[in-house]
Amino acid sequence: MTQYPSSLGIDPAERKGGLSARPRFDLREVDGILLKLLANAGLSWLSANQQTVNALNVFPVPDGDTGTNMVLTMQAACREIANGHERNIGKVAHAIAQGALMGARGNSGVILSQLWRGFSRSLDQRPRMNSSDIVSALKAARDTAYQGVVRPVEGTILTVASDAAQAADEAQAKNSTPLQMLEQVVEAADRSVQRTPELLYVLREAGVVDSGGKGLFFILEGMLRVMRGESVDQPSTTVQPLSAVQILEAEELVEPGQDYEVVVDFRPDRPLDLETFYSDLQKMGTSIQVGQGEDLYRMHIHVPTEKRYRPVDYIMKLGSVSKVSIENLLEQTALSNRKQSKGNYRLAAVAPGQLASVVVAPGEGLARVFASLGAAAIVPGGQTMNPSTQEILKAFEDLPSDQIILLPNNKNVHMTAQQAKELTVKRVMIVPSGTVPEGIAAMLAFCAEGRLEIVAQAMTQALSNVQTGEITVATRDVELNGLQVKEGQMIGLLNGELAVSGETLQETLERLLEHGRAQSCELIALYWGSDLTASEAKTIEEKIRSKYPTQEIELIEGDQPHYPLILSLE
């Protein structure tokens, strides 16, 4: 790149800007040789950021990844001009367009080739291009690209191309040099990319920006970088919006030796020189991410134990630190592993000819309880997440037995259960359990060796041995059974009927127990939900134990959503 012929008029004054080996190209005119350099820079920069673009692809068609497709298209374009030293920009542009056309891969590649086609057409036979030629070339690129489709979809690469042309037009009004113009264009393309989710619903839904648009941005930015004399080989170390810093995901990638995660929020005193900032941080650790909010930066890094205070000290020198968090990753990973392992329950093995039971259960804890009682398959589901017929059918089909007892454990699941029963060739009996405690009572009567009808009958009878209490939060104001309930209050249901309400969980639980005549029961089982912690559940248990000293109290981790407590009274 340093071999750029001086005859093209690079002002020596411009070159002194950097003692770096790379020249800046702040020229009045661009010729074929510079265009070749720019196209190659666009390709290099796009390749360096290829994975970033690929990661944005939300359209799950076998079209392949947008980043890869655009890189392949640009490669074909650059191959076409690889061996030439043509000075005439029109000819070079035509060769690029021809190469892009022949090598266009994927939808984004086709659009990219159309952009080049329009661009080249406006430069027909011109030896060089000045600022106003760039404007018309970018406009022609946009027009040609839009011509290629009946219903252009906005929020895509087309929008970005259009905004880029618009920015060039505005820069032209200020009598900009090509470099200044490109700066404006890149900035506009960046804004345009950020705007794509506002224009296109699928992007908003997936929480990403458009991949093709981002690819075009990288091509343009690559061109700008080479004109400024910056490198185009290292992947982008640009600052992402604060919300995009994926600290949780980074947590999963703990490299050995990088035990501590340090997150620092800070306000730099001077504008941050990102390249130095990154390279300094790289000396300390890995998984570096920097996010920017309103003049606040957030830095995230993984460092070895002995270097855990280094990033903080370093950043203190750059500005004022507002928040520091240091966490031991190994400890956290161990914790989260422990949390996951509680999901491992062992389902009952079924021999052919035996009865198998399929149970619908909300929450890991309840699944484990059912598994310990001999359930052969668990279908996750319950009050607000009814399982599909498909899921239940699949559970039937995966079992080696052709005689199955199904416990739906929720009234809302009964219909689905019935459908699944009708659709399978296996013999299925449904024990109509309406709640989890009923299901557990029924499961106690299950016997894998018995005859299907007899076992199902025994289980159905067992249903009535138990009363079910459920405590949850009212989702709306309601007046029912003489009770007035406000949205947000705790409510207690006894056997599916609204029975009591209260302000706190404890209060509601006590009222519900009274209502259910817990005094005359032998056993009170409390299944605590995912909204509670173990210690909260323990406190509740102790209070109930002191209130009902003659009853046996069991506390079981149910892990069900939405219901802080499910209780069974026997």
């Binding site: 359209f59 799950p60 068609v61 076998p62 079209d63 035509h94 056309l101 022949m102 266009a104 891969r105 994927g106 939808n107 590649g109 086709v110 659009i111 080739s113 159309q114 086609r117 057409r121 040609t144 011509q147 290629g148 489709v149 009946v150 219903r151 979809v153 219909m415 459908q419």
Partner: protein, 119 residues
């Protein structure tokens, strides 16, 4: 007409015309397509003036699966093979995604090219 599975409260019927509209919309939004083509003088005569969504779209069933034939006009100067491939992908995806019915094949017939500008 086809039934879209057994819903609990009855069956769902989706007409070929409806499927054709979806396919045609998806095709017209894919890059490189500048129009749907009539397959003959007769069809052009009766459908084009009414902007019938079935223009250039043919829907068949093979068992429970849908086969779609699309007759399109593409922009001159695009890479035809890539554009056609991408139309097939888009239509295939859109139909399966919106209807939940399996699509066996999407055949793209390029009936013509529109030359907007000559290079």
């Amino acid at each position: 007409m086809t039934t879209g599975g057994n819903a609990p409260l009855g069956s769902i019927c989706i007409s070929r015309r409806a499927i054709a509209s979806l396919a045609s919309q998806a095709a017209l939004q894919s890059y490189g397509v500048v129009g749907m083509a009539a397959r003959g003088y007769f069809e052009g005569f009766i459908r084009a003036p009414a902007r019938d969504p079935r223009q250039g779209v043919e829907i068949r069933y093979e068992g429970d699966e849908i086969c779609i034939d699309l007759f399109v006009v593409l922009e001159y100067g695009t890479r035809i093979a890539t554009v056609a491939r991408s139309i097939a992908d888009t239509v295939h995806y859109q139909i399966e995604h919106t209807l939940g019915l399996p699509v066996r094949e999407v055949n793209v017939h390029v009936q013509g090219l529109r030359v907007s500008n000559t290079d």
